[in-house]
Structures are given as structure tokens and as C-alpha cells.
């Protein structure tokens, strides 16, 4: 088609313009497909799991997926904030564990009110994020290693304060949010939804959001443009800690227990989910919708493999391969269409 219109284009002006437009619309369509590849991939997997086991498509299972996606989703948001400014935070998984443990022990040992204990836990998490931010900006520590050190310290800290024991028997009011339902629907996903809406609004519509993107896109240029880059990075780390604290509380309330290695398993998935959803590890790129897609994709893989009775010895491996494919498809998008 295009070649033909090129040939007939000699002498006329309208034809090549049309050819260009047509070509661009094809490119745009291809781009739309590939840019939403996470969602297409997600729909495909839901369909496949549904065919393999119709139970997968029941309301109760889908509710279960959303509940399971809540903690990972919040951690994905926390990680994305830091990725957007071109840094990384390996400590968020450990933060969920130790912050919830400190809150829970404050309630159990010191007899503080439940609400106050929860706030203390989230406050500790926020403070850890703030310290990460200070180390990376003021002390110019490399975030990869700084947060690795923080992660190991916090993991060890949790082991120390829990003495290796699992913290259980929390008051019912503490665990309430993890079990509560409203009209048959669990409350946890409401927190997830609220988190994504708030983050989406912040990123798209506020000065803070623009500053985060600009800082990750080109920190030197952002500084010259009048953005206080260091402050923005500290805010990113602090907010990341705050959200991890909320995720930590929700995880404890949902499980009704805090193990001595609570939260550690989430870290790599919380990094993978945003990247699958289009957040760049180099900063400055990515959106909330993509992050949500990445989170749901990983959760569907996790839950789906369990439901279709894949023997547990194979679940991790197959899950890994599926993630691998998702990232490969995304890389293909970048190579073929350029990264926008």
C-alpha cells in the first residue's frame, strides 16, 4: 500500500502526506497494542487459567487475587516512587517486617492502644525511608548499596526483636482490616485502589509529580530548571517508606501474624511489577496504570499456578519463566517502537 502510494506520489503532494498518515496510524495502533501489553498478557493468562480451572473465574477467587495484590501493589508503588527519581530501594520488604513488628510489640508489650501502635509502626517505616533519602542525597551514597545495607540491618533487627519467634495473638481490632468485608467484598483492595488513585493523581496533576519525573529524567537539567532535586529525592524515599509501612501493617493484619522474616519475599516482586508495567530503572518514565497491570499480572501468575494444581516444586520456576516472558515482550516494545 505504502510503496504504491509513494510511486504515484510523484508530482502530487496529497498522496505522500496520506501515505505518511496511514503509516503513522499503523505505527500508533501497534504502539497502543504494545504499550498495553501488560493488560493483554494479563487478560490472556486469566483466560487460560480460567479454562484450565473454571474455579479461577469465580468471584471469590477474583476477590482473593485482589486481596493478595494489595500488599504487593502498595510495595510496587513504594518502589516506583524511588525508581522514578532514578534510584532504587532494596529495603522496602524489610521495612514492612520490622515496622509492623515494632508497632505490634508496642501494643503487646507496652500496652499501647492499637491505633497508636499502628501509627508508630508506619512512623518507623516513614523514618527509615527518610534516613535512606538523607544517605543517598546528603551523603551521596549509592542507593543500591545503601538500601542493601539498610535491608540487611532491618532483617537482622527484626530477628533480634522477635528473637526468632512469630508474633501472633494480636487484638481483633488490629487484624480487623485484613478480614473485614463490606457487602461480601473484602476491604483490603479498597486500600489498594485508594493508593493507586492517590498516586496517579499525584504523578499526573501535581507539581511534586512533575518534579519526580524531571528529577529522574535528567537530574542536572531539573536542578537548573529550579527543582530542588535533593529534596525531591528525599521526599520520594520518605513517601516510599510511608507506603511500605502501610503495606507492612496490612500484611500483618491479613496474615494475623508477623514472622521473623516477614516481608522479605516481596522485595523482588515489588521491583519486577513496576518494571513489567513500564517504569524505567533509569528514572523519569512510567505510570500508575502500568504499575497496577504489573502487580495484577504477578499476582494472577502466583494464584493461578496454585489453582491449576501445578505441583508446588514447579510453581516458582514457571512463575519466573512467565515474568521473564513479560519483560522480554516489554524489551521488544522498546526495541521496535522506541521508548516513549
Amino acid at each position: 500500500m505504502t510503496a504504491q502510494s509513494d510511486r504515484t506520489a510523484d508530482g502530487s503532494i496529497a498522496a505522500p502526506v496520506l501515505a505518511v498518515k496511514r503509516q503513522r496510524s499503523v505505527a500508533v495502533r501497534a504502539q497502543v497494542v504494545l504499550q498495553n501489553v501488560v493488560w493483554i498478557w494479563l487478560a490472556g493468562l486469566i483466560l487460560i487459567f480460567g479454562i484450565l480451572n473454571p474455579f479461577f473465574l469465580t468471584t471469590s477467587n477474583l476477590q482473593n487475587i485482589l486481596v493478595q495484590a494489595t500488599v504487593l501493589g502498595l510495595l510496587g508503588l513504594a518502589q516506583s516512587l524511588v525508581l522514578l527519581v532514578g534510584e532504587i530501594d532494596l529495603s522496602i520488604g524489610a521495612v514492612t517486617g520490622i515496622s509492623s513488628a515494632i508497632g505490634a510489640l508496642a501494643i503487646q508489650r507496652l500496652g499501647l492502644p492499637v491505633g497508636l501502635g499502628i501509627i508508630i509502626g508506619i512512623g518507623v517505616a516513614t523514618m527509615i525511608g527518610f534516613i535512606n533519602g538523607l544517605c543517598v542525597t546528603r551523603l551521596k551514597m549509592v542507593s543500591l548499596i545503601e538500601s542493601l545495607g539498610m535491608m540487611i540491618t532491618l532483617q537482622g533487627g527484626l530477628l533480634a526483636i522477635s528473637q526468632g519467634n512469630t508474633i501472633t495473638d494480636m487484638p481483633g481490632s488490629y487484624n480487623w482490616i485484613g478480614q473485614a468485608t463490606l457487602g461480601g467484598w473484602p476491604l483490603m483492595p479498597v486500600v489498594l485502589l485508594a493508593g493507586f488513585i492517590a498516586m496517579g493523581f499525584m504523578l499526573r496533576r501535581t507539581i511534586l509529580g512533575r518534579s519526580l519525573y524531571a528529577t529522574g529524567g535528567n537530574a542536572a537539567a531539573a536542578l537548573v530548571a529550579g527543582i530542588r532535586v535533593q529534596r525531591i529525592k528525599i521526599i520520594a524515599f520518605t513517601l516510599s517508606g510511608f507506603i511500605s509501612g502501610i503495606a507492612g501493617y496490612l500484611l500483618a493484619a491479613w496474615q494475623g501474624a508477623i514472622t521473623s522474616d516477614q516481608g522479605n519475599g516481596f522485595l523482588l516482586y515489588a521491583i519486577a511489577a513496576p518494571i513489567i508495567g513500564g517504569v524505567s530503572v533509569f528514572g523519569g518514565r512510567g505510570g500508575t496504570l502500568g504499575i497496577l497491570g504489573g502487580v495484577l499480572l504477578l499476582t494472577v501468575i502466583h494464584v493461578g499456578l496454585a489453582i491449576v494444581y501445578v505441583p508446588s516444586f514447579y510453581v516458582t520456576m514457571i512463575g519466573g519463566v512467565l515474568i521473564f516472558i513479560a519483560v522480554a515482550v516489554d524489551a521488544l516494545r522498546v526495541n521496535v517502537l522506541g521508548d516513549h
Binding site: V20, R24, T206, I207, R210, G217, N218, V224, G226
Partner: protein, 515 residues
């Protein structure tokens, strides 16, 4: 002088989708000459040299070297035939020595071990008379030495035709002379150069002949430089006469010039001491001097980019110098960076987001951006600056240098500055856009905006400013009307100082620009 044809392209055409970047270009380059390649941003220069150097394949057409067709080419093959492209970002490994860089990828070796002694011997011989120390660490070289190293590396790898893509960007006047001297020496030894530059004077100085591209077509092929002058070159590039901007200067009424409204006092930085610096509303002053002499540093200090002491008085308020750019912007000072890619544009973000980046506060309330006000602001500048792009959502990194500069100027003007600091405002943009930039500045000054221009292009500075402040060794040694200065005056004064300044130490930061 008998010349032989080294390179001949025949009807080279390159189409991207339905768009022709090159239209039947038949270019000829003679052996042992420096051949200038001119054209506006986006005229097809880069595409042409990429095809000739094998980085891209032409849609149609042939390349002949020494009268023989090269066949389907790739970089390896063209390099094998002696064609090397030296780009604006010299490909040098900063942490390795000059000798190691010279033989990079072609290490002399014994088994798997690099034969260091043989390498250094080879490099010492090869670099004899070039002024490069084979043991020096490449990252510490001056900008001009890096260019030399790149050219030498190409020659060492068997290069006969060296294509230099804007090699003088980020070089000082003195460095340019060093580079040109080096090129002339190699030319006598039979090396052929293709030389891309936006500066007419450079073309006239170093080139033997020129070719000009306009909108992808070759409009001038291999014309001897002896037969053209600067305005003829501009006309060939633009396809129309260029009306050079010269700032309209106050005549007899200059005596009643308005009193200064920006008064800087006691400026002290790591390498400058300026007791007072006054700028009147609507005045354009130029800061000139060799690198490291203080002009750049003072401009950056006023914008809060480098730590410095001093006070600023404006609109009845006296305060210390801004601590950071955010504070400077709040005071009404805006700053154009001399290196767009390094700290100017956010290349991966859209034109719109780049334009509004410094004025988000003005289009938002309570930290929430009004999308409607943002759209209006962007549309306004998109039109006013006649930015050439698909639309305002296109990433800035995809635009030509001139259009990127317009986006940055839009960002500055959107802050409604009262003092505009322009650092190398016309670097790497074509002559047409250069004049546009100066006209925009002129219209701002009519509204009372004060302007500071820092540029190494002295011809341009003398045309565009009212008053020149000449820096030597960190202090202002001369301060007078641009009309009473010539380029020669400026150079004489700049070089007249203590001898050690003639080869100024390049600060590490500046070295990094070129790496």
C-alpha cells in the same frame, strides 16, 4: 594542483517511511582536502555522513571510493576502506591511558596478554610530534586533545577519509586554532577531511571546498572556498539572503540611559572577584574571556549554580546571591545552560512538560496543576517560537538542536524573567535559528528585561550586546560599549594577561562535557 577524487556518492537517497531525508545526493570529495559540509539543522548532513560511514544504508544510490563502488556497506567495511566518522561525543574510554585508547580493540598482544611494552612503544612513535603524552589518562585530557586523540585513533586504524561532525563544539577559540593546525598538518600528509560546522568563519578558514545540503538535496557540490564569503555561505545554506542581526543601539540619547536595576556587589567565588556589576533595564551585557577567566563562573554564580558570596539589589530589595536555581527563579532570574543535553532538556519528556518545568507554580493552585492553563501556556509558546515538531507531546530528544533551544527559551520566558542569563545561546544551532534567538532577546529587552550573554563566539557577541565585560584571571579588566570594541581588541586583551593563562587549565567539569 592535480587532485584526485576520493569519494563520490551517486544519487544517494534515504527515505524514512514516506519522508525523504536525502534526495539524490551526488557529492564529490577530492583527495587531500578539507571538505566543508553545510546545511541547516535537519537538512540531511547527519544522514549523509552516517550513510558514507556505513552506519546507515541508503534507500537508493551508490558510494564510490577511489572510483570503485563500495557495495553494500556497514561500519566495519567502510572503516576497512579507510572511512571514519568522529562524532560530537568522542568515543574515548576516560579511565584508560592515551596509548590504550589509541590501540583500543587492536591491542598488541602475546597470547591473551596485552603487550604493554609494545603498546607504549608503538604509541610513543605514533604520537611523536602531536603533543599528546601516551601515558596520560584520557579522561584528564583537554577537550581539544580528546578530539586529536579521536582523529589519531581513526588514522591509526587506517583512516584516509575522516569525517568530523561539529568537532569545534565546546572548544575555545585557542583550541580551535590548535585543532585546525593539527588538521592542516595531517592534510599535508595526505589525509582527507569532511568537516561539519555551523560556523561560517571556521569553514572559510579551514576548508578547501564546500558542499551544501538544503532539505535533503545537494544545492552546492564541491565549490572552492576561495570563491565564496560568509554571506554567500549563509545564502547557500538558507536559500535566501540572511539579514544578520545587529542590536539597535541607543544613539546620542545614550547619556540618559536608565539607571541600573540589577546591582551585584562584592561577588567572590573560587576563581573570581567582581566588586560591582550593574545592569540597566533593557540592557544586554556580554561577559567575555578565556575559559577559567571567570565569565562563565560569574554567570553561574548569579544563578546560584556555584557557591559564591555577594549581594544583589533589585527592585529596592537587597539580599545575598541566590543559594540555588529555585531561589534565583523566584528573584526573577532565568538561566540558559550552555550544554542542552547535559543540564538543559529532559530529553525523554515531551515538549510541553519541558516548557512548563520552571513555571509549574504559576499554573497551579495548592500544588495541583491546572491542565487547561498548562495547555494554553504551551500552545502560546509553541506558536510564538515556531517550534517545528509533530506536536507538543513529542519527546524533546527527537528534535533538532535549534528546536530544542527554542523549547528551552520557552521554558525560560514562561517564568517571566527580569534578568535573563544566556550561556552560549547559539551553540550548535544553524544560522537561521541563531538570528531568531537574537531577535527574541531584542524584543524582550524592549519590555525592560535585562540580559547577560556569555559566548565564545565573539563576532556574535559584538553584534548582539550593548556592553562587554572582559574577564582576565577572575577580574573584570575592561568594561565598555560593544561598538567601541573589535574582535581583535577582545582577543588581545583576553590574552594580554599573565602568560600562564594562555593555556588555561581546563576544569574537570568542562572536560566532562566533551567526554
Amino acid at each position: 594542483m592535480a587532485t584526485t577524487r576520493l569519494l563520490q556518492t551517486i544519487e544517494l537517497t534515504k527515505r524514512y517511511g514516506g519522508v525523504s531525508a536525502l534526495k539524490g545526493v551526488s557529492l564529490s570529495v577530492d583527495s587531500g582536502t578539507v571538505h566543508g559540509l553545510l546545511g541547516e539543522n535537519g537538512a540531511g548532513k547527519s544522514t549523509l555522513v552516517k550513510i558514507v560511514s556505513g552506519l546507515q544504508t541508503p534507500t537508493e544510490g551508490e558510494i564510490h571510493l577511489d572510483g570503485k563502488e563500495t557495495g553494500p556497506a556497514d561500519v566495519k567495511r567502510m572503516e576497512g576502506l579507510g572511512v571514519f566518522l568522529v562524532t560530537q561525543e568522542p568515543a574515548i574510554v576516560s579511565s584508560l591511558s592515551v596509548a590504550e585508547n589509541l590501540v583500543l580493540g587492536r591491542w598488541p598482544h602475546r597470547g591473551v596478554w596485552v603487550d604493554v611494552r609494545a603498546m607504549n612503544r608503538l604509541a610513543t612513535n605514533y604520537l611523536d610530534g602531536t603533543g599528546l603524552d601516551p601515558h596520560a589518562i584520557a579522561g584528564r585530557l583537554s577537550a581539544v586533545d580528546r578530539r586529536k586523540l579521536n582523529i589519531l585513533r581513526a588514522l591509526h586504524s587506517g583512516g584516509r577519509l575522516i569525517i568530523l561532525d561539529e568537532p569545534t563544539t565546546a572548544l575555545t577559540m585557542a583550541d580551535r586554532q590548535i585543532l585546525f593546525g593539527f588538521m592542516r598538518k595531517l592534510k599535508r600528509e595526505g589525509v582527507t577531511f569532511m568537516f561539519i560546522s555551523h560556523y561560517n568563519e571556521e569553514i572559510l578558514e579551514i576548508c578547501d571546498s564546500v558542499s551544501v545540503l538544503r532539505d535533503g538535496a545537494l544545492v552546492t557540490d564541491n565549490q572552492p572556498v576561495a570563491s565564496v564569503n560568509s554571506s554567500a555561505l549563509s545564502e547557500m545554506v538558507l536559500g535566501r539572503g540572511l539579514h544578520l542581526f545587529t542590536r539597535g543601539r541607543a544613539g546620542p540619547e545614550a547619556a540618559q540611559a536608565p539607571p541600573p536595576n540589577w546591582q551585584f556587589r562584592g561577588l567572590r567565588g573560587s576563581n573570581f572577584r567582581v566588586d560591582h556589576l550593574d545592569i540597566a533595564p533593557g540592557e544586554v551585557i556580554g561577559l567575555a574571556g578565556l575559559p577559567g577567566a571567570g565569565a562563565q563562573e560569574v554567570a553561574r554564580a548569579i544563578y546560584g549554580l556555584v557557591p559564591a558570596e555577594g549581594t544583589v539589589e533589585h527592585a529596592g530589595l537587597t539580599g545575598s546571591l541566590p543559594a540555588d536555581p529555585a531561589e534565583a527563579l523566584a528573584k526573577g532570574i532565568a538561566f540558559l545552560s550552555d550544554d542542552r543535553l547535559r543540564d538543559g532538556i529532559v530529553a525523554i519528556h515531551s515538549i510541553a512538560k519541558n516548557i512548563t518545568l520552571s513555571s509549574l507554580g504559576a499554573i497551579s493552585s495548592g500544588g495541583v496543576i491546572s491542565l487547561a492553563r498548562e495547555r494554553d501556556l504551551v500552545a502560546d509558546f509553541f506558536k510564538r517560537m515556531s517550534i517545528r515538531a509533530r506536536d507538543a507531546s513529542q519527546p524533546v530528544g527527537q528534535l533538532s538542536g535549534g528546536n530544542q533551544q527554542k523549547v528551552l527559551l520557552s521554558r525560560l520566558l514562561a517564568t517571566k524573567p527580569r534578568l535573563l542569563i544566556l550561556n552560549e545561546p547559539t551553540r550548535g544551532i544553524d544560522v537561521g535559528v541563531k538570528e531568531e534567538v537574537h531577535r527574541i532577546v531584542a524584543s524582550l529587552t524592549r519590555d525592560g528585561v535585562s540580559v547577560i550573554i556569555v559566548t565564545s563566539d565573539l563576532d556574535e557577541m559584538l553584534r548582539a550586546v550593548d556592553r562587554v565585560l572582559l574577564f582576565v584571571n577572575g577580574v573584570v579588566v575592561d568594561d565598555r560599549a560593544a561598538t567601541s570594541l573589535t574582535k581583535e581588541d577582545v582577543l588581545r586583551i583576553a590574552y594580554s594577561s599573565s602568560p600562564h593563562l594562555v593555556t588555561p587549565a581546563v576544569p574537570a567539569e568542562q572536560g566532562a562535557i566533551v567526554s
